[in-house]
Symmetry: C2
Amino acid sequence: MRQSKLFTKTVKQAPKDEKSVNAQFLIRAGFVDKLSAGVYVFLPTGLRVLEKIEKIICEEIQAIGGQRILMPALVPKKNWEQTNRWKIFEELYKVKGKSGQEYGLGATHEEVIVPLVQKYVSSYKDLPCYVYQIQDKFRDELRAKSGILRSKEFVMKDLYSFHTSEKDLDIYYEKAKKAYFKIFKRCGIGLQTHLTLASGGSFSKYSHEFQTITSAGEDTIYICENCGLAINKEIKQEHSKCPECGKTKFRQEKAIEAGNIFKLRTKYTEPFNFFFTAQDGSKKLVEMGCYGIGLPRLMGAVVEIHHDDKGIIWPKEIAPYQAHLIQIGNNLKIKKQTEKVYQDLEKQGIEILYDDREDKSPGEKFADADLMGIPYRIVVSEKTLEKNCVEVKQRNKKQIRLIKCISKLQIF
Amino acid sequence: MRQSKLFTKTVKQAPKDEKSVNAQFLIRAGFVDKLSAGVYVFLPTGLRVLEKIEKIICEEIQAIGGQRILMPALVPKKNWEQTNRWKIFEELYKVKGKSGQEYGLGATHEEVIVPLVQKYVSSYKDLPCYVYQIQDKFRDELRAKSGILRSKEFVMKDLYSFHTSEKDLDIYYEKAKKAYFKIFKRCGIGLQTHLTLASGGSFSKYSHEFQTITSAGEDTIYICENCGLAINKEIKQEHSKCPECGKTKFRQEKAIEAGNIFKLRTKYTEPFNFFFTAQDGSKKLVEMGCYGIGLPRLMGAVVEIHHDDKGIIWPKEIAPYQAHLIQIGNNLKIKKQTEKVYQDLEKQGIEILYDDREDKSPGEKFADADLMGIPYRIVVSEKTLEKNCVEVKQRNKKQIRLIKCISKLQIF
């Protein structure tokens, strides 16, 4: 992509009411734009990051059997009433149509997925099954103050699993944990992310959160010094010992919840009378789990973890482009050489953002490259041209290398 | 994909209130499910079709320079007020948050895209630019009676173009027309789809619709017998002659609007004072076009066009799978042979739905295959096994071929 063609630009200042590092950098770098409090637009480069996160999530969820569907946001009132959440779900946006129908805008989708799966599943032979979607969620958040970490509308991956027994749910729950760790590792926050015992909220007694350590975290967690399991502050009082290893030494950290998983058991299958016929002919309630990841939240968490004072430092697998090619100088020889490098790398299947802007100084181009945080910066200038080289610098390293321009440029 | 693992099933009967052919077949075949009037769930096979349509649209829109973004559905009241549509846009769903903010759920996105692009575009040097998204739209439709042709919530591709002059808008508008015809051709309804002059509604004086001829159509169009341009009934009175070729002979047809495009000119840039600095230093209003395609509507139109009394007949490029492999008989030899064919075709990169269900009769399997409408049906049975063959039938043809099982099965 030629940067001169990109309709967005980096901007000098993010809105003053945006205090969070993620919103500051993402807005300044032209990745997102703020429409109103807690409501964001994803711009071309930002959407590329979101799509890469989506791809990773889909791959890992499909690897544990997830079948993808797409549920609507317009969830009829009667579905919410069936589980009694119409009245108690505080973050629900309520909408009324002209002909009187009322909807709660999907803040989570148990109320749709349970009666849906029930239509097709009646016997133990149909179970287990795992269904997920990547879809827009709506939550009337009062504390929408953390940039894209907590917004009123956001793309979410929600996976739901259905089982014949608690034991089968337990087995799948462990699989889902592993898939989650793979996702966070591929997104570049594996080392900072801890499995954390937490309250189940309106879903279940306990849940597990995946908490990513950062000073910008809204949550406080206590990490077991022995095994690494964490406990959310909200339930720390109930656990003087680590539930995993029994040890008692914890360290306190601030953290961001990057995902969470719940053993719902029969909490949502019961209100819909979702029974199945067991092998012995008896009728039993279906056991259920649910597993969520907010994609913008994960993207925001990555920015909170991976940045310096100049800008974002994207982990390779979710970077919008792998390389940022920068042309210094606008004379024909330089242009021709940069163009050649661009074509060569594109042919190798490498995603390039090519800074071909003629009205920007080298200083402005370098500052934008640091702000946007693409992993490799490749510079073509008079100086490199003389040596028939390009200058390569990784965003997260100081060292600059000169690499010879041969027919197939070898950078990575 | 093994059909025995698919959590959905074909169903005997669609809801009685669904009169349309598209909803009847799509629900019976397990492609979509109806949540409430005008609100649908896309199930795994249906979502695959939608994703293929999305891929085609993205490719063709990117080919004419479209840059993809993602705008939110929560569009603040003040944006709608700026263009005066808060009061007059009848289909707008209105939502109020706890802290008093009001939103109109995005039914179209001029009110977001104009001030967004305005942030980055100030000079003629920044123009033209083309921005699109694939995103969920909400419309409070009273006549939601045509299955997925007209729903209250649907994924839409909306492209917006911005120009320095009407002439530049005109040039791009013609490019967009061509891209649209490519999209409809690739989706299998190119032959049935006519460019149609129509009213511009609340957007502009005239617009162009892409109307696909079918007896299920909600619209009536008059097609010029000479050049093929059509005129929508709503404005036929204003045009006794064909605006393209001047001839006067028309034939009347029922049709479905599969997409439409508008020259908005300055209708939406003016209320936002979206000026640019022209080459001569003067300030001018930005000229604008918009171009929409509802993805489920397009999918529904395809079903209305391509079906017989047994079910859907998917065009190849948007079929959920390319081949439906059917195992007749459950003995070990048959299973082994079918499994071999399955592996062989998957290795070739062919998307296969493998009907490995052991509790279904051959008749049920064939009926389901016809209903689901996958282009190629491949059967393995005792009979084909004897001849070391598979039996191949195209969904849209009667003829059955026997093809030898060699190491690399050649079917397509």
